[in-house]
């Protein structure tokens, strides 16, 4: 019964979003059923649709988890976007420097690397870099909150701007191949590439960028669950989030928990870099993120800050992202922004839950439960 209650509102929110979205489509002058067929059909077709839906869901699982961990500690991490940018760049940097990258510049080979490590060493090192750098970037905001009382919403937003500008600068002026019109670094060494799932799943074409990072994302969900509900650290983080005063009275150092939670959160956001750099572009590609960090907030909200819920809400948002382009291309008037309308309505309904609980509560449909 408790599970049902937890599921009801997210489901109502999604259904309501589609209904309101349908009305919007109708007002614009297209057929909602045709539009939704296009949206969902292209997201669930085998193999291209499903493959890409899962690919788009991968970064959202990571950022959703990142937001959820911070939220369980009573923190709102709006900085996943910046954390994933610095982590992605750092991952690319390590994979270039230790991956034996040599690039042909106007006919002369230029060596960008210091060493050429084998894949067994390079891949774990690159993944570790993503986690550590993302975590460090997140920990800055945690530290400022814990020791100076700077609000994490403000600091993470500001750190986002710094992160984006910083990595753009390094890419443009230090790690771009001369003559390349696109703002991207030199390619990473081949040893750092992680395999695409097409190598293991028959029928999945190689052009689908779905890669091992998706498996890592599912693994991260399990680990986050264990961390939050089965370890002492997770308990302390949740205790701090539930009631900091009581937690402190119980002997928990709130400051440490805040820094720890932000570091774990940033590390999870940083894993997006693994999907992007090691699994997809094989280089740092400037402004690659389709607002993954911010969409992660919505994913966590809809997934009720629980790893299992986050998988499902990330899949939903991945579906929407996959379906957006066909909707833009093959309807007369509807643009891909319809997807943003749908996302916004989902968030609105989830956020308005408290109000709903109040009115429905009188009919005994729902009892007020602690979140």
């Amino acid at each position: 019964m408790k599970l049902l209650r937890e599921l009801l509102f997210p489901l109502v929110a999604v259904a309501a979003a589609f209904v309101v979205g349908g009305i919007v489509v109708l007002l614009i002058g297209d057929d909602p059923i045709y539009t939704y067929k296009l949206l969902i059909g292209s997201a669930l077709s085998w193999p291209d649709g499903i493959g890409r839906t899962l690919f788009y869901a991968t970064p959202l699982i990571f950022t959703g988890l990142a937001v959820a961990v911070a939220f369980r500690c009573g923190l709102l991490n709006i900085g996943a976007e910046g954390q994933l940018y610095v982590a992605a760049f750092a991952t690319a940097w390590v994979s270039i420097k230790l991956g034996g990258t040599v690039v042909d510049v106007f006919g002369t080979p230029v060596n960008y690397s210091w060493a050429s490590l084998p894949a067994v060493l390079l891949v774990p090192l690159a993944i570790l870099t993503a986690i550590v750098v993302g975590g460090a970037w997140g920990a800055i905001a945690g530290y400022l909150k814990a020791y100076f009382g700077a609000h994490e919403v403000i600091t993470t937003i500001m750190l986002n701007f710094i992160a984006v500008a910083l990595v753009s600068y390094f890419t443009q002026y230090h790690y771009k191949v001369p003559g390349d019109p696109i703002l991207q670094t030199a390619p990473i060494g081949a040893a750092a590439h992680i395999p695409r799932l097409s190598a293991f799943i028959p029928g999945l074409p190689e052009s689908i960028p779905l890669n091992v990072a998706f498996i890592l994302a599912l693994l991260a969900c399990a680990l986050v669950y264990v961390f939050l509900w089965r370890t002492k650290w997770g308990y302390e983080i949740r205790a701090t989030g539930a009631n900091p005063t009581a937690a402190e009275y119980g002997g928990i150092s709130i400051r440490k928990q805040i820094v720890l939670a932000m570091a774990v959160s940033g590390g999870l956001a940083g894993m997006v870099g693994v999907n992007e750099v090691l699994g997809y572009h094989h280089r740092y590609y400037d402004s690659f993120s389709e607002n993954y960090g911010f969409t992660g907030i919505a994913v966590a909200l809809l997934g009720r800050n629980h790893p299992v819920g986050i998988i499902f809400s990330a899949l939903l948002f991945g579906m929407l992202q996959r379906g957006a382009i066909p909707v833009d291309a093959f309807t007369e008037h509807v643009s891909k922004d319809l997807v943003q309308v749908l996302q916004a309505i989902v968030i609105l309904f989830v956020a308005a839950e408290a109000a709903f609980r109040g009115s429905f509560g009188r009919f005994g449909l729902l009892k007020r439960s602690k979140v």
Partner: protein, 346 residues
């Protein structure tokens, strides 16, 4: 009670909407398989930039009117959407997929390799694949001519140049412009600025205006923009500089890609037009006539692929003797007597 009533109303409304829409199916345009299917993927600036993308949009719309074509378009809005957009067309077996802008070239290479039987065309980009047509322009030649016009118009001896993203392609505009200006007046000074280093540089009119105002402050009285949507900010800046007692503009701007003379009439000296519209029209026509060829399709002065625009908005701004000199230079460039430096040829 009130909320239950509301709930029922909403449900009824939804049912009504669903019913209504299912009756509406006829309005959906039937997918005519006999027609040639063309999909176009725009650049970050979007099709309403009144410049580069707008020219491409103009061209495919004209093709769709004249030829048996089913036309679909996508404005990706962010670089991550470009590949899915191309694949959306390719998966549905489109006959021609057009990518607008150099940034799409590496993505198109990947997609075109997976679909060797589909024709692709990339504007401003280069690909070696046999099923990709590279539509490129000699922007330096057209820029040379507007550089001459700018130098003949300038009273301060200082010109401005505002580029979008700091890349070799835009330097090609700048060097041509500067060479043209120096050919008229070797002492002339050209101040150059770029809006930025990433994709958003094409879509930042606010920054474009700031740069233009700063150049005006440093004495520039004719400013050439090659910055997509960001260039429109420079149009605002010259309008802000106002008109003198005779009603002539104090500062001028030179538009780019599309004919932008009408954007701020009187303030636009001319536009360095790049006939992206003709280029995409021709490639669509080739596909319809089964004459598609991959490789380079170069558009220069000799085919009117680039040039400067002259219409009722700016003909009073340029004296006839200036026009005569510029046209003479144009003939010399075509004949090879004037060599304009191509910043991209290394």
């Amino acid at each position: 009670m009130k909320s239950r009533f509301l709930f029922v109303t909403i449900v009824l409304l939804c049912a009504l909407v669903a019913l209504n829409s299912s009756c509406n199916r006829g309005t959906q345009t039937a997918d005519d398989k006999s027609k040639v299917h063309v999909g176009i993927v725009f650049d970050i600036g979007g099709k309403d930039d009144r410049s580069f993308n707008a020219a491409a949009w103009e061209g495919v719309k004209r093709a769709a009117k004249d030829l048996p074509i089913v036309l679909r378009d996508v404005e990706p809005g962010s670089p991550t959407n470009i590949e899915p957009a191309m694949r959306a067309f390719a998966e549905r077996g489109y006959d021609l997929i057009i990518g607008v802008g150099f940034a799409q070239a590496p993505i198109m290479e990947v997609v075109a390799k997976d679909y060797p039987n589909i024709n692709f065309a990339i504007v401003d980009g280069v690909s070696q694949l046999p099923n990709v047509a590279s539509l490129v322009f000699k922007e330096h030649q057209g820029s040379y001519l507007v550089g001459m016009l700018a130098a003949r118009t300038s009273k301060t001896g200082t010109l401005g140049f505002i580029g979008g993203m700091d890349i070799p392609l835009i330097h090609r505009f700048e060097t041509g412009y500067e060479e043209g200006a120096k050919a008229v007046n070797p002492q002339i000074r050209v101040i150059q600025n770029f809006v930025g280093v990433n994709d958003s540089a094409w879509n930042n009119p606010g920054k474009g205006k700031e740069l233009a105002l700063s150049q005006i402050g440093r004495g520039a009285d004719v400013i050439f923009t090659a910055a997509g949507n960001s260039g429109l900010g420079a149009f605002d800046a010259v309008e802000q500089a106002g008109r003198d007692e005779q009603g002539h503009a104090r500062r001028f701007v030179i538009g780019v890609d599309s004919n932008q003379n009408g954007v701020k009439p009187g303030f636009v000296l001319t536009s360095m037009v790049k006939r992206v519209d003709n280029a995409v029209y021709n490639i669509a026509q080739d596909v319809v006539n089964h004459q598609f060829k991959g490789g380079f399709h170069v558009f220069g002065l000799e085919t009117d692929g680039v040039g400067y625009s002259l219409d009722e908005n700016n003909q009073t701004l340029i004296p006839p003797d200036v026009l005569k000199d510029v046209d003479a230079a144009k003939q010399k460039i075509i004949a090879g007597q004037i060599q304009v430096t191509d910043a991209m040829a290394k």
